[in-house]
Symmetry: C2
Subunit: 390 residues, 2 copies
């Protein structure tokens, strides 16, 4: 891919907490544009990212962590002035799976998002207004391409691993497929090599929920009221798919809300109140158009397209740790099994583990013990391989 | 329950087709009101129903068939002037599972619905306007109570069986629990004795989709534009839950629509176009407020409440055929297994069969061969028992 090398890496604030040595950076491409998979151009581009730990002299201990579609670059520790720990704080820190005493972890927000990186809420240089639906279609390949520029700018030749769950797992797979020589290993978790019709269907009804909100106004709502009703509903639908039948039952049962109002289709069961609450919380932090673009990127993701999947992986020397969860019905294990089979057929050194969990798709965000047990020795072998290669 | 016996049974048209001997009736209660489980009153009440076959002299061959929440009384054959066969036409007719040469089949529309029976679109006698949200909360018990009046009016003491899938299966269970002496057997299919949080959650986001449509106008939309956008979206979400991951994959794959428009979040994948089409078709025939009331009735259904489930079934002499489907993830088999265990504990003569199917919850509406194989001998034994009892 052409486009000039990145010129600006801007430190914007510290991150403290269990991890100790962390910093938050804001990264900007030069003002020229990046070619997209669609054939369109996007630029200028900025990517928000955080780093934890220290890059070693050989630059052999760098790990890229990719978030799920509604995530951000804040994966660990605490940002100045903010209360919430990063979304993978249980996985990243001293002595944790991604051990900040040993590794240099980079957590990058993807393009198309709304949390520091260029997306539909960014200013369109053509008219000085937010893009809205003039933002071009972006794909998982485009996200990885932007990340590759970031990794170049950081002077890192080969990543020790690329790890991520859900849409983050797609990016890990895309890294392996597009840049096999730039990754020593990848850890795709709770993901798929292509979306099934059911996965597309859920994303589609969530998009419809947003687009049915009159406030959405064909994506041109910036500067005015936000399509909170539609976005909240989209998120509520999503939440059902992230949890398992069993985890919902354990969390809510058929308990009624304590502050239940008289019957008129207000929330009565606790699960109803929870879904509305989660929807309402989400609209404060996420952009509705980003929801549309990022779900579309997942739906269009198809690593192999018209080829057999194993051809995508042929010749790759990277090691792979592939994880799925027994109760994840949004990304059922058969998706990971198909990836594992294709990797085996391509001679890739892949370990596939189906982890027993009741937490559904959310498992990769809450079940840290087993994931840590799997990732620690996997990374130790990878870093040993890296040392041997020197 | 009090309330006067039904006075009016009005024949409104013929039904022809494979079944031959069928007629469509409209049934009305007297203008006084029926007490509801909520403590409120509802009246006057009408119930639309169809019958197929002939009631025998002993009135021992009557079968009540109960539809799913979006169904209607048109279960078999063809109505005058209409093209569509009834929703269980493959199950009802000469030589079919519900054999019209042997049995008298009654298919009743439930109250709360919008297809001939009293529901939120009916006229509220208090002000002469459609009820809208002034319609009282109705429950599965209320539906069965209204059906019981209908069965009384038809002069039938004991039903040979009550059969139904999904919400129809809840009614079959409620008949067994409320009127064990009035049913010789019941056939609950793809159903549950109480809704799980996941089932409530899906119904809730579907209700939210309707209520978020500004045209819904707090339920007071009659006589004006209908909340088609919200209702269509609710139905689209529902359709995902009715199908299985596998059946969606077989039907759509990742095929793109042939008339796909340029990228701007219009439907691109066939599955997206299908969901919008099904949503759009549905709004022509169903009332949005009925969708709210009937899904709420399902969510509130809890056959045992604070008792152990087996106590509900204790002392029942009725035989039970209980069916669930392997790929039905909306009403997973564990629901039926819990019912079967409770029935066994209560000494009920229950046969539980988990049928292998890829069709998900829709299976009871499309997989007729196996269901017919199960139901035929079950009914033959029931009718033999009925004859022996005489």
């Amino acid at each position: 891919m052409p486009s000039q090398p990145a010129r600006v890496i801007m430190y914007t604030g510290a991150i403290t907490g269990a991890t100790g040595k962390v910093g938050h950076f804001n990264f900007a491409f030069p003002p020229d544009s990046m070619p997209l998979e669609s054939g369109e151009q996007l630029g200028p581009i900025s990517i928000a990212f955080e780093t934890y730990g220290e890059l070693n002299a050989a630059k052999s201990n760098a790990i890229l962590v990719c978030h799920g579609f509604s995530g951000d670059s804040h994966a660990a520790g605490y940002k100045e002035g903010e209360k919430g720990a990063g979304w993978w704080d249980g996985m990243i820190g001293p002595g944790r799976a991604f051990d900040t005493d040993k590794y240099y972890i980079i957590s990058s927000n993807c393009i198309g998002s709304c949390v520091g990186s260029t997306g539909p809420a960014s200013i369109n240089p053509i008219n000085g207004k937010p893009y809205g639906l003039d933002f071009p279609l972006i794909t998982i390949r485009d996200m990885v391409e932007a990340q590759r520029h970031l990794i170049d700018a950081l002077g890192i030749g080969k990543l020790l691993t690329v790890a991520g769950g859900s849409m983050g797992g797609m990016q890990a797979l895309q890294w392996l497929a597009a840049y096999p020589a730039r990754v020593r290993s990848v850890i795709p978790i709770a993901t798929a090599a292509k979306h099934s019709p059911q996965q597309i269907a859920f994303n589609e009804v969530e998009r419809q929920a947003i687009m049915a909100d009159p406030v959405w106004n064909n994506g041109a709502y910036y500067g005015g009221a936000l399509p909170e009703s539609g976005l909240g509903l989209a998120r509520a639908i999503g939440h059902i798919t992230f949890m398992s039948d069993k985890s919902m039952d354990a969390k809510f049962g058929r308990d009624l809300k304590s502050d239940k109002e008289p019957f008129k289709f207000t929330p009565e069961f606790q699960v109803e109140g929870y879904l509305r609450y989660r929807g309402n919380e989400f609209v404060k932090r996420f952009d509705a158009n980003s929801y549309l673009y990022l779900t579309k990127a997942m739906d269009f993701f198809d690593l192999a397209r018209d080829k057999p999947l194993h051809e995508v992986f042929r010749g790759s020397g990277a090691r792979v740790l592939l994880v799925s969860y027994t109760s994840d019905w949004l990304y059922p294990s058969y998706h990971s099994q198909a990836i594992a089979r294709a990797m085996k057929a391509a001679g890739v050194d892949v370990t596939y583990i189906e982890v027993e969990s009741d937490y559904g798709h959310d498992a990769f965000l809450v079940e840290f013990a087993e994931l840590t047990r799997l990732i620690k020795p996997f990374l130790e072998k990878s870093i040993k391989n890296a040392a041997d290669a020197h």
